[in-house]
């Protein structure tokens, strides 16, 4: 019995690991009636050996699938071991892992067996059982199955903290090429439904405090990058649309991990595009928290993110006329745009300067990346005089003084050892 469950867990966790969604924050579910759990703060409980966080028990209900998407391990044509959990098994694993403080909750996805509604109905049944029978208030993230009916989505929203539909590919052509059984419309329809239902629930909450929660942590999506030829402009444009039109909380970018010998895809052994993925997340952050518009990060002239420097530094080098920024007088918005200064530090600078003029020694201690920021700011009693460096000279100066973990990747020199 225990051997079988162990085997299922290994198969169905392994198959779910390419889903990069990991968040367990942003919900507001409180423990009530002396129940179990509290989904109000996100905690990463472990980190895998590849450095990604483990916050939720992320598993598939089953890896049986009627679809044949080229980039997916669970695709119909792949010759792998298949397994399926029972409803009770998933409930037991979740509760017992949660009680031992291994996880924040459950992330449940599934291969499509039979059809969308049949699959979705089972996912919902597990979430319902956790909430109503186990009095569980931990985090639940359900994967909405493209093509599932509105009634099931509605029910899912009542039990889940977050719902997501993966858009998979940044463009429809790529989706057609790699996932012939799927179509964009089936993915967009549930997103639209969820968006409407989430907004309606917020309105209802304002009127009636007791109104039930509906996906309080919102919805998210993910797309695979590096499997198809889209550039960063296309990827980020798509993400920007999701943030603006679908009220997405997060868009995840999943650097393609070669898993099949399909000639439509990069061959096995092709490195995972980790730097690109990292740069996309940095750009995403600039969109969501730093007030940047998409055009400032990528446009028709610069459709690809720099791989050797982060997108904020790249933007600053393209706009030398805006710098240097005076730390003691510039507004918060402009200070946040200085390379090497984050949102938190920018706020601290603005708060601290009310008490006294800030010198370079002061700002250094506030936790900014001085070797980058110094070229873009002036302080009181400035010891560093700004030389008239051209953007290219500045870039090489900064890169000489920074050691990037990706440095070896930039070298044109072949490494023999």
């Amino acid at each position: 019995m225990s051997e079988r469950i162990r085997e299922k867990l290994s198969i169905l966790a392994d198959a779910a690991k390419y889903d990069v969604s990991c968040a367990s924050s942003g919900s507001k579910r409180k423990n009530e009636n002396k129940g179990l759990g509290n989904a109000s703060n996100g905690i990463c409980h472990a980190y895998t050996e590849d450095g990604r966080c483990v916050s939720l028990l992320k598993i598939l209900l089953t890896n049986h699938c009627i679809f044949d998407c080229a980039y997916c391990v669970s695709r119909k044509s792949n010759d792998i071991k298949r397994a399926a959990f029972t409803v009770q098994e998933v409930v037991d694993l979740t509760i017992n892992f949660y009680r031992r403080n291994y996880i924040e909750g459950l992330f449940l996805s599934s291969g499509i067996f039979k059809n969308a509604d049949y699959t979705m109905e089972r996912l919902v049944r597990i979430a319902k059982k956790l909430r109503t029978e186990e009095n569980f208030h931990g985090y639940i993230h359900l994967k909405a199955i493209p093509g599932a009916s509105d009634e099931l989505l509605q029910e899912a929203g009542l039990y889940a903290d977050r719902l997501s539909v993966n858009v998979e590919m940044p463009t429809e052509q790529s989706l057609k090429l790699l996932a012939p059984d799927k179509n964009r419309k089936d993915m967009i329809a549930p997103m639209k439904y969820l968006k409407g239902a989430i907004i309606a629930n917020k309105e209802e909450k304002k009127l009636f405090k007791k109104a039930p929660l509906f996906a309080p942590a919102g919805q998210s999506t993910q797309m695979v990058v590096g499997a198809t030829p889209e550039n960063d402009l296309q990827v980020l444009w798509m993400a920007d649309q999701f943030y603006k039109k679908m009220n997405m909380r997060r868009v995840y970018y999943s650097g393609y991990v070669p898993i099949s010998n399909d000639n439509r895809l990069p061959a096995i052994g092709t490195p995972v595009p980790m730097i690109r993925e990292n740069r996309l997340y940095q750009a995403d952050w600039l969109l969501r928290f730093y007030g940047f518009s998409l055009q400032e990060i990528v446009d028709q002239e610069n459709p690809v993110l720099d791989m050797d420097i982060d997108p904020k530094l790249a933007w600053a080098l393209r706009n030398p006329q805006l710098f240097p920024v005076d730390i003691n007088y510039a507004d918060l918005y402009m200070i946040m745009r200085v390379p090497g200064i984050g949102v938190g530090t920018a706020k601290k600078i603005v708060a601290a300067r009310k008490h006294q003029q800030l010198t370079a020694d002061h700002v250094k201690k506030l936790g900014i990346a001085w070797n980058r920021a110094r070229h873009f700011i002036t302080c009181a009693a400035d010891a560093y005089t700004h030389k008239d460096l051209l953007p290219l000279q500045l870039k090489s100066l900064i890169m000489q003084q920074t050691t990037s973990k990706y440095q070896p990747n930039f070298s044109p020199q072949l490494k023999l050892f």
Partner: protein
Amino acid sequence: MVTMLYDGSFEGWLTAVFEVYEYKYAAVQIVTSEQHQPNVFATIKNVVTDEAKAERVWKGLKQKISANAVAQVYKTFLGEEIGVENKLLEYVQYAFSRPQSIESDFAHSAVLYVWQMAKKVHREKHRMEAFIRFQKMKDNLYYAVCQPDYNVLPLIERHFKDRYADQQWLLYDTRRKYGLYYDLQNVSVVEMHFSEESNEGKELQHAFDEHEALYQVLWKQYFDSVNIAARKNTKLHIQHMPKRYWKYLPEKRQL
């Protein structure tokens, strides 16, 4: 120079602060009786912890700085850094000397110190919320040992009480030799003394619930299965999950 000796408790330190004002000490140093190194040139003053005095200082501070900053003072104290009593005294004196709140004056060394230390302690609090692993005993008690860098048990009590309202749990700090016990109603402080071996849970095997070993195995299985070998990044792994915590994590132990 006056050296004030206190008992090491937060209330004790607050009492000392009260007495600095009461006796108008200018050059003063606050130390725990334990850490005190006799110095012939200093006058020794013993501080007797007095709740009323402590309360007055605490209340006064709340009127000068925000609730958030008051919490930072407490967190900084729990950081247990040598000399923290005097850094905090400097902070409190600065706060009382100004009409407006000084908590965001990060160019002031004491303010910056409190901000940074509170942040470090807060991070350790968060890591404990993440890396505490409970083991279920035969009598349904969920038991965990930890060894936090800072004295964060008082800070995580609320978190675990809110989260595990329906299970009895015991959290034990092996370095500071005390623990928290939740009996389904209240959390109380317990003091116990374990031998080194039992700290690691080795002597407790026989007292585990019959399914405990299974769930540890399943968790380790899960942890191994979600790893993507093609993305291996040991440095990042260790940065997020420092080795000093490994002995308490079933997923990093050889089972």
